[in-house]
């Protein structure tokens, strides 16, 4: 948090069919629909999230991620980071308050991996869904499907990992929590955190720029992950792999696809990171185990299927 970036704020995903996407994200994942706008976008959140929304769906003729945003401490921090991004060499675009409903002004820039990111300082706080602010109960009744608690992180594929790490660490204050190093000493995967989580955003080296590997949502327990797997079968949802455990981050996980082919993860557990911790390193010759700790073997789909 040393540069004033606090946490992931939202992700805007492109979907081919909004009705099918909502069936997936609301009825299956259990996100809460909180608003819609005149561009047809639908705003969602996990029930534990205090800010108004964390996922925005936009119907488009191509799947993938429009952008991912991080929330910063305050407007002065936003101003300072904007200057720092320009000094780093980023093109910075200003988006006025209200362009996303309930969100203050945003600044948008591209990372050297080809992904668009945003920073913002203010978003309407509607509180955790379904429970009181004072003397809150443990959880709300009426949650659907997997009962996803929050949007947690995204894994993105693209090039220029070194320059991207420099941008995220030097300008935005992220730490390198985990990495994969190939035999030549080149970093081919980097998991970055701005708090105590094992990752807030992660990047894997890839020939094509700006690709989404997955958007991930947090569950509390391994039982919840197993129950998510049951729901994936009950709804005949396209599965990728799992339930299993990752070597990287040691999270317990399952991967599946939304009806437009965007990969989702729900997971629980995983490592924590303090700023004085050195990065956890995996070597590329153990990549199978690093990704799928039990199978110890990569499936081709995990590396090549992207939106």
């Amino acid at each position: 948090m040393k540069k004033g970036v606090m946490r992931p704020g939202h992700i805007q995903l492109r979907v081919l069919d909004m009705a099918k996407a909502l069936e997936h994200y609301v009825e299956l994942l259990g996100l809460i629909e909180v608003d819609r706008d005149d561009k047809g976008r639908v705003y969602l959140k996990g029930w534990t999230e205090v800010d108004k929304f964390s996922v925005v769906l936009r119907e488009a003729d191509e799947a993938g991620m429009d952008f991912m945003a991080f929330k910063v401490l305050d407007d002065a921090t936003l101003g300072r980071l904007s200057e720092d991004l320009v000094a780093f060499g980023c093109m910075v675009e200003s988006i006025p308050a209200g362009e996303l409903k309930g969100c203050g002004r945003r600044i948008r820039f591209s990372a050297p991996t080809g992904h668009r990111f945003e920073l913002f300082a203010e978003k309407e706080q509607t509180g955790k869904w379904g429970i009181a602010e004072i003397n809150p109960e443990a959880w709300p009744r009426g949650l659907k499907g997997m009962k996803a608690t929050r949007f947690d992180h995204a894994l993105l594929y693209g090039g220029n990992l070194d320059e991207t790490l420099r941008l995220f660490s030097e300008v935005l204050g992220f730490d390198l929590a985990e990495q994969v190093i190939d035999p030549e000493g080149k970093r081919v995967a980097q998991f970055l955190t701005v708090g105590m989580k094992a990752h807030d955003v992660a990047f894997i080296l890839h020939a094509e720029q700006g690709k989404l590997h997955h958007a991930s949502f947090f569950l509390e327990t391994w039982d919840d992950v197993l129950r998510a797997a049951d729901l994936i079968s009950m709804t005949d949802t396209s599965i990728d792999i799992g339930p299993t455990r990752h070597g990287l981050t040691h999270g317990k996980t399952i991967y599946f696809f939304d009806p437009s082919g965007n990969r989702n993860e729900v997971f629980c557990g995983g490592d924590y990171h303090y700023p004085d911790h050195p990065p956890v390193t995996w070597t590329a010759d153990q990549l199978g185990k690093a990704i799928f700790y039990h199978d110890r073997e990569l499936n081709e789909r995990f590396l090549t299927v992207l939106t």
Binding site: L16, D17, D61, E62, A63, G64, S238, F257, D258, P259, S260, G261, N262, R263, R301, T304, V305, L306, T307
Partner: protein
């Protein structure tokens, strides 16, 4: 009453049945054939792109990044979004994923 058609992948010679309500990729997976690569199954990733060599078909929504209007016209489509309206002959798309 749904109709059933025969899908033939000409490169491998493999064939399988597919109803008019089922995508070619789903039918292939259900019958344990492996002649078209399986990706997201949602029209988003482009991995299962095939050339329809002959036959009538309909398509669901597909990412324009992988199937543009010309592709669609030429029968270059995603098997996960390909619904037969007659027997079909398909083969892997010439360039694989575009």
């Amino acid at each position: 009453m749904s109709q059933s058609f025969r899908i033939t992948e000409t490169r491998s010679g493999k064939s399988f049945a597919c109803s008019d309500e089922q995508s070619v990729l789903a039918a292939m997976e259900q019958q344990h054939q492996r002649c078209v690569p399986v990706g997201c199954r949602g029209g988003g990733c482009g991995l299962c792109k095939v050339q329809v060599v002959s036959g009538e078909f309909d398509c669901g929504r597909m990412s324009s990044r992988h199937v543009n209007a010309i592709d669609r016209e030429q029968g270059l489509v995603l098997a996960c979004r390909l619904f037969p309206r007659s027997d079909l002959a398909i083969q892997p798309a010439p360039s694989g994923r575009s």
